[in-house]
Amino acid sequence: MALTNQDIQNKLQEKFGDLVSNFEESYGLLSFEATAANNLKVLQFLYDEPSLQFQFLTDICGVNFPDDAGREISVVYHLHNLTENVRLRFKIFVPVAAPDVFTACNLFSSANWMERETYDFYGVNFVGHPNLKRILNVDEMDYFPLRKEYPLEDQTRIDKDDEMFGRG
């Protein structure tokens, strides 16, 4: 009996009720949202429940929605059930003022660096992470570069010394 997106949705709603919401299917992939405080419970349930078995963490990444007050930072988990070959996407939203999220390190060893990367770029504070420090950027950096408030440099700026760039 193949596992369908509808089955997954039913199981989750049965277990978590209103704590999981916004179920949608884009390009065949089930996507839903949970409250930030429950991210670990949802991950654990998806991992343990015999009929779900989402035991492979494909990816964790952050997204920044600066206009969405109170839900500025999103953490997106991609999970994979390798036996049934079904993927799903699971999101949580936290305010940029207090981006605290529980770490998934105890469940997935792979979450360690993925969370460090998310911290590095979005400043998400993974509570309980064993080694939460910058990974790709320099340690001295005092901002979180992938947030939308830090735009890329204006390509048309003219105040640069051309000589330094081999154009003088």
Partner: protein, 410 residues
Amino acid sequence: MLAHQQHHITLPEGSIEKQTTTLNVGPTHPATHGVFQNIMELDGERIVSTEQTVGYIHRAFEKLAERRPLYQITPITDRLNYCSSPINNMGWHLTCEKFLGVQTPKRVDYLRVIIMELARISDHLICNSIVGVDTGAYTGFLYVMQYRELIYEIYEEVCGSRLTTNIGRIGGFERNFTNTAFEKLEKFLKEYPKVLKEFENLFARNRIFMERTIGGGAISAERALNYGFTGPNLRAAGVDYDVRVHQPYSSYQDFDFTIPVGKTGDNYDRFLVRNQEMWQSLSIIEQAYKKVQEFKGTDAEIFHADVPEYYLPKKEDVYTKMESLIWHFKIVMGEVEMPKGEIYNAVEGGNGELGFYLVSDGGRTPFRLHFRRPCFIYYQAYPELITGGMLSDAIVTMSSLNLIAGELDA
């Protein structure tokens, strides 16, 4: 090689200040084949602990991608795993196609499969021959480089460049494969199997090579899955997960091939899995080439999908027709709005599942683009793989994991 055979001198506590030695391997050590740093604590030659530092060549790809229209992102993907750029390029184009709802013709799919499998061979070839170098056999590496050259010549004939290929377009290829390209492919198919056999004979049952690699850097299937391993490294641990089979893209379902798996997940199994995968890739290329040859007449002229909104118009039209000129500019400057939505799409890269997570808010550039880089994810298992082993095995483990700094650091 075995830890328990090492003789330890026991010293009374406090007789010297520190019992272990700290060794900096990298960032630019010749044996790391890339810019990685490892700060190792050594007890004699045995590794007590290690901490990796990555990010030396971080180039902010994900940030850059937020200001670039789709076509300008392709050259960024080149620079992820630069040993198999075409897979990255096509992975990105396949993601765009899935997102935009573009259907590609079968011939395009088969041509893509040929290029992607060539890229896989060149990727695995580098990795395996570098494992050879690190165990003391330089000859194999120098020898097979001549044959990787044949692959690069095919790329060159198809897209004009060799390493960072920027190959193809959304919907297909920039031009049809020339006869020269097919001739070069035939030459490769004829000459390469012999070389691969020779290369295999050089290593697979070589006593010295086996002693150096068996048992080193081993990981169980369970731990490998928990660490998010994918690709040959996961298959060496005994899990037959391959994106080409589990979520076929580019018509991989039309091909007959097996997924080689290992048992112990050690350096030797990783070598054997990659080696077997090269044979499988060769067979896929042969099948694909046969399928491509079956297209006759006008069918053999198809090399892209009919999607004028995303596929650049022909050059002669650009010079003579106003409409084409406009579209050329619109596409190059990225003045086409994307639909709203999000997508995760993965391909089987040289190192494992290469994923693209694209979030679009309906603008001209991605709102967010995240690359799932297999290297980055499995490199965190490195301390677990090497702790308790010898320093020299750690070096072999690093090369047999096929770490590519570009992919690691994005």
